[in-house]
Each structure stands twice: as structure tokens, then as C-alpha cells.
């Protein structure tokens, strides 16, 4: 038994080297200035009006995207779990297969769909409907987020729903609950771990994205992810960038804590 534990060794070494230490590096950079002296200045950067705006907008858009994903994903997961579809073929179709077409390319393709003379407006025009100015708006960014992260909401919910013993649902029906009551009192509460983990898996990447806002927002809309990316890639201000990342990590840690609380057995994980 002892020797089996040793098998974790390489991984623990790896995890400390490439997960823990790098995170400590961010903490170090975030709490020091260019000369290496301790400062809270970098954290305080979040309070400048532009950064507050970027953070606020990121929070708002990712919140909306998360809600939309949840609303879209839940019925989808339910239909699929009822249908007794071969699980692997479904996951592949929703999740793995599209990934073989690069996600950046797929997001860029939305430009074609959303543009003024794009495909959606052509279709609308065909039905004599007014053209919509979608591209380069917050709506387009929300759409991009929903599109990119929807599978991360579907999978955990599907996994918990599929694990619910059919007899539990039958039992509720048997005890007099109608379809709606069965849903609100049994299915929904039992799927909470999946919902929480889905919410986290959509909210965190939406909150921190800089690619989607870049590609579908026409660089008109700055999210906190864009600010951080620019601090590193353009401003070369690693300290400020790290400071802002630290602030962002607070939201991530809250999410992780939520998962830990509601999903003790890890049943809501997507994979």
C-alpha cells in the first residue's frame, strides 16, 4: 500500500512546480512594485474608474451569459437524460467534436453571421425584417460566451440528472406529485451540485475572457480580461497585471468554495 502512494509523487512534484509556485509568483508580483518593494498599489488599481468599469461590465456580461446558459442547458440536459441516449455519442456531438474546429475560428465565424451584411441579417432581410446591428455590441459578446461555454453547463447538469435513480422520480410520482411538483421538489434540488458546478464552469471563463470580447466586441468593449492581457502583453506592467489578477482570483476562489460546499462527492464534475 505504501508503494502505491508513492505513485502520486511525480504528480505532486509537478503540481507544486507548475501550479502552486506560479500562483505564488502572481501573488509576489501583485504585491510588489517594479523595484520589488511591498505595495498595495497594484490591488488598488482595480478602483480606477476604467478598471472598475471593465470589471463591472465583465461581471454583468458573464452573469447574463451564465443565466442564459443555465436556461438553455437545463432543458437540454433533461431531454437528453430522459432520452436514454448513448451518453458518449451525445458528449462527443455537443462537446468534443466542435473542439476539433478551433474555438477561435468558430468565434470568428460568428462575425460572418452577425455582421451588417452578414448571414443572419441576410436571412432577416429575406423575410423583410429589419436588420439587427449585433456585431461589436455587448450582445455579441454575450452570444460568444454562451456559444463557447454552453457545453460546460450542459455536461455537469446532464451528469447529475443521469445519475438520479429513475425510481426516485417514480417514487415522487407515486406519492402524488404531478410533473411540475416532481421537478421542483425532487429533480431540481437533486441537480443542485451539477448546477453549481456548471455555473462556475461558465462564469469563471466568461468573467476572465479577453478573446471573445476582442473578436466580437470590435475592441470597443473592454473587459477585465482585456485589461489584464494588455498589462502583460502591451503595457509590460506585470505588477499591475498581477495585482488585477489577484483581485480576479477572489471571484474564482469564491466559486471554488461554492463547488466544495455543494458538490462534496464530486458528482457534479463535468468529466
Amino acid at each position: 500500500m505504501k508503494s502505491r502512494k508513492l505513485l502520486t509523487g511525480p504528480y505532486l512534484f509537478w503540481a507544486v512546480s507548475f501550479i502552486i509556485i506560479p500562483l505564488l509568483m502572481i501573488v509576489y508580483y501583485g504585491l510588489t512594485d517594479k523595484e520589488g518593494n511591498f505595495t498595495l498599489q497594484n490591488l488598488a488599481q482595480i478602483t480606477t474608474p476604467e478598471n472598475m468599469k471593465a470589471l463591472g461590465l465583465a461581471l454583468l456580461l458573464s452573469f447574463i451569459s451564465t443565466i442564459i446558459c443555465l436556461v438553455l442547458a437545463y432543458p437540454l440536459a433533461m431531454i437528453l437524460s430522459e432520452k436514454n441516449v448513448n451518453q458518449s455519442s451525445f458528449i462527443v456531438l455537443i462537446f468534443i467534436l466542435p473542439m476539433w474546429m478551433n474555438s477561435l475560428l468558430r468565434t470568428i465565424a460568428w462575425q460572418n453571421l452577425l455582421e451588417k451584411n452578414g448571414i443572419i441579417n441576410s436571412v432577416l432581410g429575406f423575410f423583410h425584417l429589419p436588420a439587427q446591428g449585433l456585431i461589436n455590441t455587448p450582445y455579441a459578446i454575450v452570444l460568444g460566451m454562451v456559444y463557447n461555454f454552453l457545453p460546460f453547463m450542459v455536461l455537469p447538469i446532464y451528469n447529475v440528472l443521469a445519475k438520479i435513480d429513475k425510481d426516485v422520480i417514480f417514487a415522487a410520482r407515486d406519492l402524488g406529485a404531478n410533473n411540475l411538483q416532481t421537478f421542483t421538489r425532487i429533480i431540481l434540488p437533486l441537480s443542485v451540485p451539477g448546477i453549481i458546478s456548471g455555473i462556475t464552469m461558465v462564469f469563471v471563463p466568461s468573467l476572465t475572457t479577453f478573446v471573445i470580447s476582442d473578436l466580437l466586441g470590435g475592441s470597443k468593449i473592454l473587459l477585465i480580461g482585456n485589461v489584464i492581457e494588455q498589462e502583460f502583453k502591451q503595457g509590460s506592467n506585470w505588477n499591475t497585471g498581477s495585482g488585477l489578477s489577484l483581485v480576479l482570483m477572489i471571484f474564482i476562489i469564491v466559486s471554488m468554495a461554492l463547488i466544495a460546499k455543494y458538490d462534496k462527492d464530486g458528482e457534479g464534475t463535468a468529466f
Binding site: D167, V168, F170, A171, R173, D174, L175, G176, A177
Partner: protein
């Protein structure tokens, strides 16, 4: 006896090509403890689920209290189910589990509280209100599942192998508990099991099923003592099933000898099956037996000895309180009343369908 409560008429159900229930007819009387007994895959659970409303039959009718309930959803049926794996709501406390059906019906808080206390007392789990299902043992969960069903005062309680997951001792305790419950509640129990001992212990009526057909319906005594075919005889208890020839009424030829029996109406010189329960074989001095044999195996079983006796190339299973060491030559005698004659099935299909008299 009392009236028919449920009448099952010509129910057929199949999954894909696989026929699970074929033109099945059965009725259940009020206040009866009826057990569906059969090996797994015989269709007993499917029948139960059709009654519960979780499966729809392909054809046929379910008449409940004179009304056809075919299209009634489960929540509107006046029966409740105790599921095989209990199906407790893991996100609720025990009290919430029990209160579930009552809350749906909109009962008052006070009423619900009383019912919870009453039900927990009934299943001997007072004070468990605030525990969660996963903190309970299997037997406790089982009793909660029963409590959850009976607080709704159903006319019929459907139990799907409810004791299957429990160990032997607990199972025996729960059997008595169930009989007690049934007597206290005075409602109909429809019980599904593959355990013949359980069925014999608890039931008023046993329905033996195999491959979608009813094989025999009767009291535990009928089923045990007068199995109507080889399947029933084999399935219920230990038995020696022997190929035999009915020489004439009340005379049967088997084991290379001619025996006296009590059955009539099989015709002359017809091949039949004869069933003899192991405890009905009397071992005597070699000379006093109708035929002779040699004891080849012996095991002590507590109440009796279980022996195998080789006689005229047949291995006979014998239960006896007397001990005969291996190698002893014995004589074999059977009381005419203890020989049960059955028609031989002519095809496999007929064997499954059972023989209708």
C-alpha cells in the same frame, strides 16, 4: 372472501421483440397479502410497475375498484409503492421524506406532524425525524420507505422485492414486521419477490410466474403441497421430480417399481411427472421398502439430515431426522398422499405457459 379490488385483464407488455407479459389475467382481493413469486425476468416487476403506473401495457386493462385506470398517471392512483432500492429522497430529512406525499396533498402541518410520528412509531424508528437517508442502515432505510408510503393511506401497497438488499437475519425480522404492519393497517399488500421462503411465510395468496405467464395461483399450502407443474415444484422448495408412467388411476410406475397414489384422470399408460418432497420419503429397513437404495451422501442440517440415496440409477434427495451413514442399504417408502402427479409438458412453450386444467 372479500371483493375483487384490482382486476388485471389480458395484460400484454413487450420490450422490442421481447414479450415480458403475455395475455395475463389476475385479480387481487381487498385486504389480501398477495405475492408475485418467480425467478428474475419472469415479468413480476413489470406487472408491478404497470399497476403503479410507471409503465403502460401494450394491451389489456387494469380495473381498480371497478374503474379502468389505464390512463391514470401514477400520482392519481390510490396505491403506493415501496421500491426495491428504497428510492429515498437524499436531499431531504427523514421527516421531509415521510411528509412528501402529505404536503403534496395539502394536509395541515399538525396532521403531517402526527402522521410522521405515527409512521415512525409503526416502523420502530421513533426519533429519526431529522436524520438524513444516507446516515441510515439498509434495514432502516427500508422501513422509512414503507413509512413514507403508508402515511398516504393507500388502498394497496406495492412492494418490489423490498427485502432483497438485507441480510438473512434482518430479512426474517422484517418479514414479521411486514405481517404485523399489514394486520394493523388492514390494507392490501401486493408483494414481489423471488424468494420462495419469504412468499410462503407472509402471503395469503401466491402467484407463481415464469416467462410472462402465471404458473399457479393458490395459498402457500396449495402451492407447496400440490404444485401443478414441474416448474412450480422445482421452484418451491426442494423436490424430487421423476419421470413416471400413469398405469391407471391411482397406480403409477416410477423408479423401476409400481406405486400406489391418489391421483386420478390421467388416462392409462400415460407419461407423467411425479413430485415427491424430500421430507416425504421414508427410509426403512431394506426389506420393508418398496425399492432399495444406498446412501451416498449425508449432511447435517440442524433440524434434519439431508441425504442422497441412489436407487435404481436415480439420485433421490431425502430429509430425515434419523441418521443413516454413507453406504447404508435402505428401503424406500412413500405415503400415497405424498406422491403428486403432474402432466408432462409437450413443448417448451407449453412448459412456460404452464398447464391449464
Amino acid at each position: 372472501m372479500s371483493n375483487k379490488l384490482i382486476d388485471i385483464v389480458n395484460i400484454t407488455k413487450s420490450y422490442d421483440e421481447n414479450i415480458v407479459l403475455d395475455q395475463l389475467n389476475l385479480y387481487i382481493r381487498e385486504n389480501e397479502f398477495l405475492t408475485l413469486l418467480g425467478p428474475s425476468g419472469c415479468g413480476k416487476t413489470t406487472l408491478l410497475r404497470i399497476l403503479g403506473g410507471f409503465e403502460a401495457p401494450d394491451s389489456g386493462d387494469i380495473i381498480f375498484d371497478g374503474k379502468n385506470i389505464n390512463s391514470l398517471p401514477p400520482n392519481r392512483r390510490q396505491l403506493n409503492t415501496v421500491f426495491q432500492k428504497y428510492a429515498l429522497f437524499s436531499h431531504m430529512t427523514i421527516a421531509e421524506n415521510i411528509a412528501f406525499g402529505l404536503k403534496i396533498k395539502g394536509k395541515t402541518k399538525g396532521y403531517i406532524q402526527d402522521k410522521i410520528r405515527y409512521a415512525l412509531k409503526l416502523v420502530n424508528l421513533d426519533g429519526f425525524e431529522n436524520r438524513t437517508p444516507d446516515s441510515l442502515s439498509g434495514g432502516q432505510q427500508q422501513r422509512i420507505a414503507i413509512a413514507r408510503a403508508i402515511v398516504n393511506e393507500p388502498k394497496v401497497l406495492l412492494l418490489d422485492e423490498p427485502l432483497g438488499a438485507l441480510d438473512l437475519k434482518l430479512r426474517q425480522d422484517m418479514q414479521y414486521e411486514l405481517i404485523r404492519l399489514k394486520n394493523e393497517l388492514g390494507i392490501t399488500f401486493l408483494y414481489v419477490t423471488h424468494d420462495q421462503e419469504e412468499a410462503l411465510t407472509m402471503s395469503d395468496t401466491i402467484v407463481v410466474m415464469n416467462q410472462g405467464y402465471v404458473q399457479q395461483v393458490g395459498t402457500p399450502e396449495d402451492i407447496y403441497n400440490e404444485p401443478q407443474n414441474a416448474f412450480v415444484a422445482d421452484f418451491i422448495g426442494d423436490s424430487n421430480i421423476l419421470s413416471a408412467t400413469m398405469v391407471e388411476d391411482k397406480v403409477v410406475k416410477m423408479l423401476g417399481a409400481v406405486w400406489e397414489c391418489v391421483d386420478v384422470g390421467f388416462g392409462k399408460n400415460k407419461p407423467v411427472d411425479a413430485v415427491i418432497r424430500p421430507e416425504d420419503i421414508d427410509l426403512v429397513k431394506p426389506k420393508k421398502g418398496i425399492i432399495q437404495g444406498v446412501v451416498t451422501h449425508i449432511i447435517f442440517k440442524g433440524v434434519h439430515y439431508e441425504m442422497e440415496v441412489l436407487a435404481n440409477n436415480y439420485e433421490l434427495l431425502v430429509h430425515s431426522t434419523d441418521m443413516f451413514p454413507v453406504g447404508t442399504e435402505v428401503g424406500i417408502k412413500v405415503d400415497p398422499f405424498d406422491i403428486q402427479i403432474m402432466q408432462k409438458p409437450e413443448s417448451e412453450d407449453e412448459e412456460a405457459a404452464g398447464i391449464e386444467e
